[in-house]
Amino acid sequence: MTKQKLVIVGNGMAPGRMLENLFEKDRDACEVTIFNAEPRVNYNRLMLSPVLSGEKTYEDIITHGDDWYAEHGVTLHKGARISGIDRQAKTVTSETGITATYDKLVIATGSSPFIIPLPGKDLDGVLTYRDLDDVEKMLDAAKRGGRAVVIGGGLLGLEAAAGLKMQGMDVTVLHLMPTLMERQLDPAAGFLLEAEFKRRGIDVRTKANSHEILGDDAGRVRGIRLDDGTEIEASIIVMAVGIRPSADLARAVGLDVNRGVLVGDDMRTSDPDIFSLGECVEHRGMCYGLVAPLYEMAGVIADNLLGGSSEYTGSVTATKLKVTGVDLYSAGDFSEGDDREEIVLRDASAGVYKRIVLKDNKIVGAVLYGETSDGPWFFDLLKKGTDVSDMRETLIFGQAYQGGAPLDPTAAVAALPDDAEICGCNGVCKGKIVTTIKEKGLTSLDGVRAHTKASNSCGTCTGLVEQLMQVTLGDAYNPAAVTPMCGCTHLGHDDVRRLIKSKELKSIPAVMQELEWTTSGGCAKCRPALNYYLVSDWPDEYADDYQSRFINERVHANIQKDGTYSVVPRMWGGMTSSKELRAIADVVDKFNIPAVKCTGGQRIDMLGVKKEDLPAVWADLGKAGFVSGQAYAKGLRTVKTCVGTDWCRFGTQDSTGLGIKLEKFMWGSWTPAKLKMAVSGCPRNCAEATCKDIGIICVDSGYEIHFAGAAGLDIKGTEVLGLVKTEDEAIEHVAALAQMYREQGHYLERIYKWAKRIGLDEIRRQIMDDEAMRKAYFDRFVFSQKYAQVDPWSERVSGRDKHEFKPMAVLTKEAAE
């Protein structure tokens, strides 16, 4: 059987989902070709707002990467807008001149932002908010600072405003109507939302009618004038006033088009071989602007393409605003009317407002502000048209209050029917999640996301999904597999690191407050991690919190099993001298240190030192020129070297000298986990550089830089980063690589694990190929070293943290009795 040729115009969220449904049913039925006007793979458009605010990166929101297309044998033409369809010959042609033949065609051209025809609308700096290019333009503008004016106080406008504010711009929102998001919210909730935006320093002006966009001589935006004559200065204007179905192509080839491309319940257009779905269609008089309906359409087309006879009958939608820290949920219709009743709950001190609109004892609309966890439950009652007479008295308090004593949240989830919708974005119901967990033996949130798509988009249903996993798996569910940082937060390390930067959080209490830690003061897992992230991100501003450091780093010595400590001074590059050895011998004698050992890191360890003696031991070592070897630190440990050209008959470069330079340049730096390096003078590799976090192999033509080796719990040879010619280049590359790792690594994640997560090629690209990026990393490393290279031992010898090393009191026998 020959495969049916399926061609798709547009590569947005709707066809992405359609193909998944299709391949799930039959991997081989269709030969698929996609044309996309955007020059990239498929990503989650909903998540552009977190990218704009800095809470996510583009890479995080890709839903189908290049490898997905390769794996599924799908041909994707990127940056190829379709300009013509020949319905007789059954071909499509792109502006770039590519032609493809189809048996079945799917039009999924989405929609385009509406541009108000104001004077000045074509000036440089007037932007819309629809795709990644728009986000990049906004981020670019944000770097230059100034004021952004956002026209439109709906979902998109507000997300854009919040994002631009988080990027440091001054922001004004102009909204024509008296309250924000008036299509989804009633005036009271709109007002709460406005107050919240103002509290964040965003200037919100309602009933504001734009008159003209003002430009300068160079054709760039400089401001906007309103109907009432007010002028507001602005460096960019973002228009977010609505969308229009992109139906021009369909119209031009003679398909029936009204506002959008007209489709029947089978999702066919007026040409039976052409389907259409997504925001470009009009179905039973409705055009949709949210993803849930598109996903339902996707399932119907996938089935019909395979000869099925599925029908789409329309959707009721619910909306959430994706602005971190604002909880808002709205569903259905909440206009007032004689036949309607409403139930309202206000809790001003908690900032909560809830309103349920009833008609004939059924919920027809719900608005929740400040506390939205019952949203899906209300939405479920709404969609099913459940008669709520029996629970009217307690309805507004939510599901937990129905039927007597309050239920715990998991019990509430357990009580949901199988077809209750859990993930609104992706239209995933409870039954699907539960069966998938069981069938595929899933145990982690990531697994559930991958297989069901639930919680994979805006993420607001993550809590519900986790509760479902709890209910389904019982004790077998280990929430740790979800990898939040620890039990004090549901956020993972990446999220926390990004939020520390984007929200400019500069102390542990600030992180815990802003990121809504669930414990009052954190735990022994998150506090050291947060302390590291803050040290690494704000080297000049953050005051290190020693009480959040593990004991070794707090007292700058390694604790031993009997409560004594070990002392390891630096021996740069493994070189020492008679003077140094004599000083060590003297210290060992003077303090009766029971053991002296050569470490695996080319230096000497004095073991069994009493805590009280540490400052005096360090004082003596300091006089001989020793500094701390940081053998205790999640930071730079050792740089092992071999004898190199100084002595060895095979040496190609001065490996000892380079090792010493690297150690002197990089000591003191804190890293996510320990960082060990080595430099070998030739590929015989006597310094074992090829199992280090970062290693250098000297060769005749220069220095081969290696990284991501392991020789502890795991054993793994290094990967080659690249070859450089001079010592200076070697140092620059190594420091840049270390800085990249410092900025991105999860606490306690060694460089080889980090590299596996980020991708070796990406690291090579940023460090070897992108000179500007490398220099920027290098400069940040140098900046941070200004604050890091203070010998902790000499600091303590001069009296810092005295309390650490002395008992608070020594009680005599008499006193105690």
Binding site: C523, A524, F550, I551, K561, M808, V810, A815
Partner: protein
Amino acid sequence: MTADIRNWVHIGTLEDIPREGARCVKNGEMTIAVFRTAKDDVFALEDKCPHKNGPLSQGIVHDGCVTCPLHNWVISLETGAAQGADEGRTAAFPVRLEDGRILIDLSYSHEAV
């Protein structure tokens, strides 16, 4: 029954201990770890982890507990009991704070209660 005999000994002031930190008090052979929490509550435990005698005074103080520096057992500051799945208990001593002065009673351990 020794529970009603109280012997308070002044060992120092609140300022002597860093917030979320600990100091030691030596009493003959025994070392007592005196902890100060984020909220300025003070607790005293024998400085010996019920697991393998790790010095609890060197651990991280959080949420009314201390995490032992050797193998991460979590010990309640109030009762000295190991938390979670671990089992064991360290002697806990009564503490009083009077005008920032810390008094402990070593004759009496909560263990007995």
